[in-house]
Point group: C2
Chain length 219, copies 2
DNA sequence: ACATTATTAGAGTTATTACTCTAGAGTGCA
DNA sequence: TGCACTCTAGAGTAATAACTCTAATAATGT
């Protein structure tokens, strides 16, 4: 593995573990048994590392929101979208956790992020349109926009929400299962629009993601 | 005005304007024509200032989610709740913008925030129950929980969302009107549950908050 | 008036952290 | 072998920011 790629992999790992802010370039270099000078030989600054990580994240998300060609959407597709989105969220969980700070003074990344958001919105709307065409949900065109935006907000904020409301301070870490509890909330957003025909089936799907209250409540 | 209160007021103002992280204690002191030593005479550290601001925020929010006594909820109440919540969000907008960072290493504040969240959830659920009892929405008990949580997430993340997706980088600032665009999204969450009887009326209310697309899109 | 306490100034300290600079080691090639 | 280029080490720098320390000044009570 090339040094450059090792740096990116280690950065992603440490950023996810500890948050981008707590991982200094010196920590990162030390973790890699490498001198800071070497790290800066490969990347002109820390933001450059973050930018490259964003590009790979962007690519995976883009790939996870495509419509199937030549056929209708199915319930399995729906679940699949959610699984993939939350898997991506997990693998790059440092990112949405502190996006505002990452974008601060980073015009290039900021512009790219805005495009990413708009593209994601369009793709999400297309998926909801697909679900409507497949008679899985019954929803007006106008409402699709609002729903897609709320979906975006809940997805991108879910990790921070968990972090802020975790019970035991510091010790406990967020797990993939806890993160996927967010899928329940997305189902909740869509639930009122389900057609009679699919309501029971989707509800059964949603049940699989009921968050364990122990994560958040004091009991 | 006591020096201590002047510090709190200036801190709130600067934090809101520039974000908590960009406002150093030295900046804050300079803004008040005061020495850092003086500032630290009144507050043992920066976090103490933030903690006190949180307490006042907490108090206003708590006061804004109470049910009226001895009567049913009305549509006007509903709108009023939203207006007050978003007004509070505006006056303390620095807070949810970077909550995770504010809570980091602050066990006392973190614990208090979790309580605040739980209390707010309960009060939000009570309001939705009140709207159900007033026959304004038709919703199951179980769904109320999910709805209240999504409401919390959208409300507390809305400012960050705007910040991350603002069109022109750096220059433009978020206005109260833009923030109140979030009310539209909350209406959107509740909309599917509206009873036939109130649907048209609430929809008319929602229209008042349609976000101007110029805030977010490139055109 | 005087002692005591509360408040303020402001220079200075300490820790952190992103990043630089120079020298040297490895590698491929003529 | 020698030359050019790539890669790496690691000490060092500069900026930042939270916070401390001492001494001076105001306020207050007796």
């Amino acid at each position: 593995m090339k040094t450059r790629d090792r740096i990116l992999a280690a950065a992603l790992e440490l950023f996810n573990q500890q948050g981008e802010r707590k991982v200094t370039t010196n920590h990162l270099a030390a973790h890699l048994n490498m001198s800071p000078g070497n790290l800066y030989y490969h990347f002109k600054n820390k933001q450059e590392i973050i930018y490259e990580l964003f590009l790979t994240y962007e690519k995976t998300v883009d790939g996870n929101l495509d419509l199937p060609e030549g056929r209708m959407l199915t319930l399995e597709d729906k679940l699949n979208y959610l699984q993939k989105i939350f898997q991506g969220l997990w693998e790059y969980r440092f990112m949405h956790r502190d996006m505002e700070h990452l974008l601060l003074g980073e015009e290039r990344l900021h512009a790219r992020y805005r495009d990413f958001f708009r593209r994601s919105q369009q793709k999400t709307e297309a998926i909801y349109e697909g679900l409507r065409d497949a008679n899985i949900i019954d929803i007006g065109q106008r409402e699709i926009e609002g729903l897609a935006l709320n979906t975006w907000i809940v997805v991108t904020s879910w990790y921070s929400f968990l972090q802020c409301n975790l019970l035991s301070y510091g010790e406990e870490d967020i797990t993939l299962d806890m993160l996927k509890g967010g899928i329940y909330q997305i189902f909740q957003l869509e639930r009122p629009y389900l057609t009679e025909q699919y309501r029971a089936q989707v509800q059964a799907m949603q049940e699989a993601f009921i968050p364990r209250p122990s994560w958040l409540s004091s009991q």
